[in-house]
């Protein structure tokens, strides 16, 4: 199993294995990997598996997260990489298998409030604010709406760019596709993009699309800047301010 080793002046302070749950890193003691240093934000960064690869994500920390001395917002981690947070170093051991992805196998039975209840507007606002304050990582601040957009880099399509406004966007030659491919022998329904709560997922259609050069295996969450190739077109997925 992959593991993270928190180092301070070349001594291992703590080691944590990386499983299917994200590893929270920060000054607050409720992190999986607490780092006691004033230069570290309460909830500074987290490390998790995505599509079988280990990823570090900075949670809008004040002093930043560095991978091999480069400041990153999000980066894929490789075996032997070093994450610098404040004066601490976290050594990445990415050998061993990725954990079973969250959506395969049986769901864990979660303890829960049994009866369904509805919040009124005021309660809803309060609970969301509380959650946002304790989480310290609201990505979508009010007034900073980002529009998910596909920009055509190469290939023949009916438009040069598309805003993804629907739950389901179809890329293909079909007259019913949102992103319409032009030309002979184009796939009818090449690929599809599904808007989920946590982002946009591209899935196969008649073809298997590639994202940043690698063919997808099942639905993959798109990240800002990803390049999709399918049915002879190249598309750039971006969040436009």
């Amino acid at each position: 199993m992959a593991k993270l080793s928190l180092m301070f002046q070349d001594k291992i302070v703590k080691e944590v294995p990386v499983g299917s749950r994200p590893i929270g890193i920060g000054r607050s003691p409720d992190n999986d990997l607490p780092v006691d240093n004033l230069a570290v934000s309460n909830y500074h960064a987290r490390v998790y598996f995505e599509g079988g690869r280990l990823v570090v994500e900075d949670l809008d920390s004040l002093n930043g997260t560095f991978v091999n001395d480069l400041r990153v917002e999000r980066a894929t981690l490789h075996d032997g990489d070093s994450i610098h947070i404040g004066k601490h170093r976290i050594k990445v051991d990415a050998t061993g298998d990725a954990p079973v992805p969250w959506d395969s196998g049986r769901k864990a039975a979660a303890p829960r409030i049994n009866e369904t209840m509805v919040l009124d507007t005021k309660e809803r606002r309060e609970m969301l604010q509380q959650a946002a304050a304790s989480g310290e990582r609201t990505q979508f601040a009010a007034g900073r709406m980002k529009v998910p957009t596909l920009i055509v880099l190469n290939g023949r399509t009916d438009q040069k760019e598309y805003m993804l406004t629907s739950k389901l966007t179809v890329i293909g030659k079909s007259a019913m596709a949102t992103v319409r491919l032009k030309g002979w022998f184009k796939p009818h329904m090449a690929a599809q993009i599904n808007q989920r709560d946590d982002g946009f997922y591209i899935g196969p259609g008649d073809k298997v699309p590639t994202v940043n050069g690698s063919p997808i295996q099942g639905p993959v969450r798109l990240k800002d800047g990803d390049v999709i190739e399918v049915g002879g077109v190249r598309l750039n997925f971006i969040f436009r301010e």
Binding site: Y48, E115, V118
Partner: protein, 282 residues
């Protein structure tokens, strides 16, 4: 395109009553599902009222296109989608008014997810945490957003989808029918493709059975009623903590006409090419 459908509702293994309700109106290709909430038997009252109101309003709309619409009409939607959204607004009002008039019904509410197919156009109207999915090319595509606190937290980036699945707050809704005098209704349209499979389900399914398992079961069983039964059985096998309701709608290639015959022939060829490739491997 030929549409075949079936649905099943089950009390589950822990509850004593079934507060879910569904209806399939085959002549209209209208599918309505609701999950009720509220003490005593009021959840059942609310979900039945929701399904009844939506069905009736759509039937009326079919007979008389000028029948009044409820709620703010959304721009750019077709008649069916507008009618469906209007029906959900009306259902909200009926449940809310009933609860206002009967103190013992206070707190009664319901989710509602409805689908209406007109040719290749699919209209969806939705409030709450029941869901609509489309299985296309083997992948489950979610057509609705849960109006739950945890889903809203995920949308705002406060928690991850995994944390949401493990949260104790999953039953807390931020939108439901009957909670307030008016409700915001999600309404959207999609284009259907031949061999798409549409499912509507209550959270009793999605909290127990994973999406790959749902997609797998739907592809393995071509009879829609049996597929729905199989999904309900899976939810019960995994604990059946809540009522489970599933509607399965399959869009099959039409069996008549030379064009479909030709296409079927082409597909047969494609299939035999595929197996020839397999033989080479073996």
């Amino acid at each position: 395109m030929e549409i075949v459908s079936g649905g099943v509702s089950d009390v589950g293994r822990l509850r004593s009553n079934n507060e879910d309700c569904f209806r399939i109106v085959a002549p209209l290709q209208l599918f309505v599902l609701s999950d009720g909430m509220g003490g005593e038997a009021h959840g059942e009252v609310a979900s039945a009222m929701a399904v009844e109101t939506v069905t009736k309003h759509c039937l009326e709309g079919q007979e008389n296109h000028a029948a009044p619409l409820f709620g703010e009409p959304q721009a750019g939607l077709n008649d069916h989608t507008r009618r469906l959204a209007s029906a959900v607004h009306l259902a909200n009002k009926k449940i809310f008014d009933s609860a206002e008039g009967h103190p013992e019904q206070r707190g009664m509410g319901a989710t509602l997810t409805a689908a209406w197919i007109d040719g290749t156009k699919l209209s969806i109207a939705h409030v709450g945490d029941s869901r609509a999915y489309l299985v296309r090319s083997g992948t489950l595509q979610q057509l609705t957003s849960d109006h739950s606190l945890v889903a809203e937290q995920v949308r705002r980036g406060i928690i991850t989808a995994v944390e949401a699945e493990e949260s104790q707050m999953q039953s807390v809704l931020i939108r439901a029918l009957g909670a307030q005098a008016d409700v915001e209704v999600d309404a959207e349209e999609h284009t259907l493709f031949v061999r798409d499979i549409l499912i509507l389900c209550s959270d009793g399914l999605t909290r127990m059975v994973t999406e790959p398992e749902i997609a797998g079961a739907l592809q393995a069983e071509t009879n829609p009623t049996r597929a729905a039964e199989k999904l309900v059985a899976l939810a019960n096998e995994y604990g059946g903590a809540d009522n489970v309701t599933v509607i399965v709608v399959r869009l099959e290639p039409g069996s008549r006409g030379w064009f479909s015959w030709l296409r079927r022939g082409a597909r047969k060829n494609a299939a035999s090419n595929g197996s020839a490739g397999g033989k080479l491997d073996g």
